[in-house]
């Protein structure tokens, strides 16, 4: 989902930045508010930010397809620190990843929208919808799976809108087929670690999760 500089037309780069601005504003306000309420929040946020950085740059080989890809980590982060704060930390992670050759600066808005906004909110909403109907591990795991897949669905859409405006649906599908076969096993891994981390925290340090759920 890391779209490089030069791939998207500048107009679309601007549009994706503009779409992200409200999420950044709400996210920064949320972080300020929660930091005042709870001094533990900021170091927790920093640690989750570091986790998102590593998870979303860690390429896992999928020998069956002969390629590799990475999970996103934002659904897990959203459950723990809240969705708007996750948009902010994922933008920071994506900014630094640009210096590792993953993504870019002009495409930071597009990459933030796919991973930070869509991946975060689809995962978070999945968790919220399921948490009273299913065990925590299942709700969290499905949140991870859905957020992961939706991130790549969105990246494919961004490429199709920017590069193939006359045949968006066809190219959206085509680009997603490029991601999909490798991404589905990675999304299953994302299911496993999101389920494991969130259910363990829910069992042993539930107050950490309440931050993400009660204020989200």
């Amino acid at each position: 989902m890391h779209i490089s500089d030069g791939i998207l037309p500048l107009v679309w780069c601007g549009i994706w930045y503009a779409v992200c601005i409200p999420f950044w504003i709400v996210g920064v306000r949320e972080i300020r508010k929660r930091t005042k309420e709870d001094p533990k929040y900021l170091p927790t946020l920093a640690m989750i930010g570091a986790a998102v950085f590593v998870i979303s740059v860690w390429h896992i080989p999928v020998p069956v397809t002969g390629s590799c890809s990475h999970p996103v980590g934002t659904p897990m982060a959203a459950i723990i620190v809240g969705p708007f704060a996750t948009v902010v930390i994922s933008s920071i992670a994506l900014f630094f990843q640009a210096f590792l050759g993953h993504g870019g600066i002009t495409t930071l808005g597009a990459n933030t929208f796919s991973m930070g906004v869509v991946g975060t909110f689809t995962g978070y909403l999945t968790y919220i919808l399921l948490k009273n109907r299913a065990p925590v591990w299942l709700s969290a795991g499905l949140a991870g799976f859905v957020g992961d897949i939706m991130t790549y669905v969105t990246s494919a859409l961004e490429l199709a809108l920017g590069l193939n405006p006359h045949s968006v649906v066809y190219h959206w599908w085509l680009y997603f087929l490029g991601y999909g076969p490798t991404q589905i096993p990675i999304a299953l891994a994302e299911f496993a670690f999101t389920a494991g981390v969130v259910s363990y925290i829910a069992e042993n340090r539930p107050e950490l999760l309440k931050v993400g759920v009660a204020h989200g």
């Binding site: 927790t44 640690m47 640009a98 363990y200």
Partner: protein, 92 residues
């Protein structure tokens, strides 16, 4: 050490093992191309746009050093705040 710390260390070992196994698989299978590059190549082949390097990326052989420094700084930061974040308050 409480259960949470033990579990965290176990998780660290598990993740490190997974990274080592994944690296080994990658090494044995040769250089596996990332899906980001595959899809970008697909997207650019028909439209004649090219990826540009606007920010200077850290050379690939310097990445382990960069990750090590980041890991040390991150470890110091998390270690400093560990009791605040996860402590049960028994030692305070």
């Amino acid at each position: 050490m409480d259960r949470f710390v033990v579990y965290s260390i176990a998780l660290l070992v598990l993740i490190s093992s997974a990274i080592i196994v994944a690296s080994y698989v990658g090494h044995k299978k040769g250089e596996l191309e990332g899906t980001d590059d595959i899809v970008e190549d697909l997207a650019t082949s028909a439209t004649h746009v090219q990826a540009k390097e606007i920010v200077p990326a850290i050379p690939e052989d310097m990445e382990p050093i960069g990750f090590t420094i980041a890991g040390i700084l991150g470890g110091l930061l998390v270690g400093y705040f560990w009791e605040d974040m996860f402590g049960t308050g028994e030692r305070k």
